[in-house]
């Protein structure tokens, strides 16, 4: 059986997502970059000068990969969730639903668009990290591989919540009550080694910890957990999230009557 893929449609949707990001650049591109710069200057350079080393590197160097992950997670989830919800709310998603596009092509189109946005933001921060903190990834394959995997995981989650949401407010539920708190305690600002034992144990059930710990390895060559374990957890979660998003789109959940 030949499986035909309408790749033009998928790339069109990806381009559409990029157009959307550019149209709202002051809302989605500059804020994460400015926020990251503020974190680097306030936490990394000002407060960080009082901390000698974390995991064998300066605090500013320790901070950069965590901040990149923070923005990759935030932007990939935000892009897909708000775009899918908006499409449903304005009915503009019907343009795709009536076209010869499969559920997979629609989901992957959104995810590709979201991935581009996350990669652009992440790499701007990477360059800023190189300029201000003089740190660069040591392992580029891991750097791009983990970033892509994490972006796919959170983009797919964004698709799921974009489909579940009944109003814009619902999209923020996951960000406010799960993503942001878990990312902040998940090792962006501190090493798990510096945490009290009960919090250290909590990190083992915090998926964000695995993403940040593994990604930091691409910069420092060190991680708290074995790399294979983190990659397995991130990969497993990405598959589960992607599978759920594809299934929801395939049955037309809140898309087709």
């Amino acid at each position: 059986m030949i499986v035909r893929i309408n790749h033009v449609a998928m790339l069109t949707l990806m381009r559409r997502e990029m157009v959307r990001s550019i149209k709202i650049i002051n809302q989605v591109i500059w804020p994460p970059i400015i926020t990251t710069l503020l974190y680097v200057f306030v936490f990394g350079m000002a407060l960080g000068s009082r901390i000698k080393q974390v995991q064998g590197v300066s605090y500013s160097e320790f901070l950069i990969p965590g901040l990149i992950m923070l923005q990759v997670i935030d932007s990939s989830y935000g892009e897909c969730s708000s775009s899918v919800f908006q499409g449903r709310f304005m009915n503009s998603i019907q343009e795709m639903l009536i076209a010869p596009m499969s559920a997979g092509e629609i989901v992957f189109g959104y995810i590709l668009g979201s991935l581009v946005r996350a990669l652009v933001i992440a790499n701007i921060i990477m360059v800023l990290g190189a300029v201000f903190v003089h740190t660069l990834p040591r392992d580029w394959v891991l750097y791009f591989g983990i970033m892509t995997l994490v972006a796919v995981l959170f983009s797919a989650l964004g698709v799921i919540f974009g489909l579940l949401a009944e109003k814009f407010d619902h999209i923020a539920v996951l960000t406010t009550f799960a993503i942001t708190p878990l990312v902040f305690v998940g090792g962006v600002f501190t090493s798990a080694q510096l945490l009290p034992p009960f919090l250290r144990n909590f990190e083992l059930i915090n998926p964000m910890f695995y993403t940040i710990d593994a990604f930091r390895y691409s910069y420092t060559g060190q991680s708290y957990l074995p790399l294979w374990l983190s990659l397995a957890v991130i990969g497993g979660l990405a598959c589960a999230s992607l599978g759920t998003a594809l299934r929801m789109a395939a049955v037309g959940y809140k898309l087709r009557t």
Binding site: A9, L13, R16, V19, E95, I98, A99, M101, R256, T257
Partner: protein, 218 residues
């Protein structure tokens, strides 16, 4: 309901509010899931051969559902992209349609900046951009002034004369009477009339409005 619309027909699909017109359209274009029965579009089953079936259909929905982030030229180009047509192949087609529908001066605007009549024209242009063989129109002249209505009628007649099959739902019975070669009337999901417009009018010897009320009265 069992219904067959011949290729090249100008078919009017009428019925009171809630009769099932939009649901039928949604089922044809794939916006509604079909739980029983089947629909074929130019010989292609719209569930098992949905890609082929959908390529033949152009839909002009009643509500404006344009992408608010795109210029109206890009609305056309991106819509064609969803149908698998690469942008370089459709730019010319999009410009032709913008010109044909008198929208070329507004090509770079977002749709929110257009008047109601222009939005209606853009709905039709978008439905035509991928070169469908059947045009499904859900209340295409709702809320437009007389001048634009006549203009749209002329355009639809021309498209039909060029071979386009047209499936029209409307609440304006004079519109159906003026345009449609065949008419189906639906009441509560059931087809209560299906015949050539001329025969329907001749049979009753009255206007379409009287026949419509008689057939659709609860």
């Amino acid at each position: 309901m069992s219904l067959r619309v011949e290729a090249g027909d100008f078919f009017g699909f009428l019925g009171p509010n809630g009769a099932g017109k939009t649901t039928t359209i949604s089922a044809i274009v794939g916006l509604a899931r079909i739980t029983s029965g089947r629909i074929e579009v130019f010989g292609y089953d719209n569930v098992t051969q949905w890609r082929e079936a959908r390529r033949f259909i152009g839909l002009a929905p009643q509500e404006y559902n344009f992408d608010r982030y795109l210029s109206i030229r890009d609305v056309l180009i991106f819509q064609a992209g969803y149908y698998g047509l690469a942008p370089r192949l459709v730019r010319e087609r999009a410009d032709e349609l913008l010109e044909q529908f008198g929208l070329e001066r507004h090509a770079k605007l977002e749709y929110t900046k257009l008047s109601g009549g222009m939005k209606r024209r853009l709905t039709l242009a978008r439905a035509l951009v991928h070169g469908p063989k059947i045009l499904i129109l859900d209340e295409p002249t709702a809320g437009v002034d007389v001048e634009l209505r006549l203009e749209l009628w002329a355009l639809l007649r021309r498209l039909n004369a060029e071979g386009m099959t047209i499936f029209l739902t409307t609440h304006y019975l004079e519109e159906a009477e003026a345009l449609c070669r065949n008419i189906g009337i639906i009441r509560a999901g059931r087809l209560v009339a299906l015949e050539p417009t001329r025969d329907l009018l001749a049979r009753a010897g009255r206007g379409l409005q009287d026949i419509f009320l008689e057939l659709t009265r609860a």
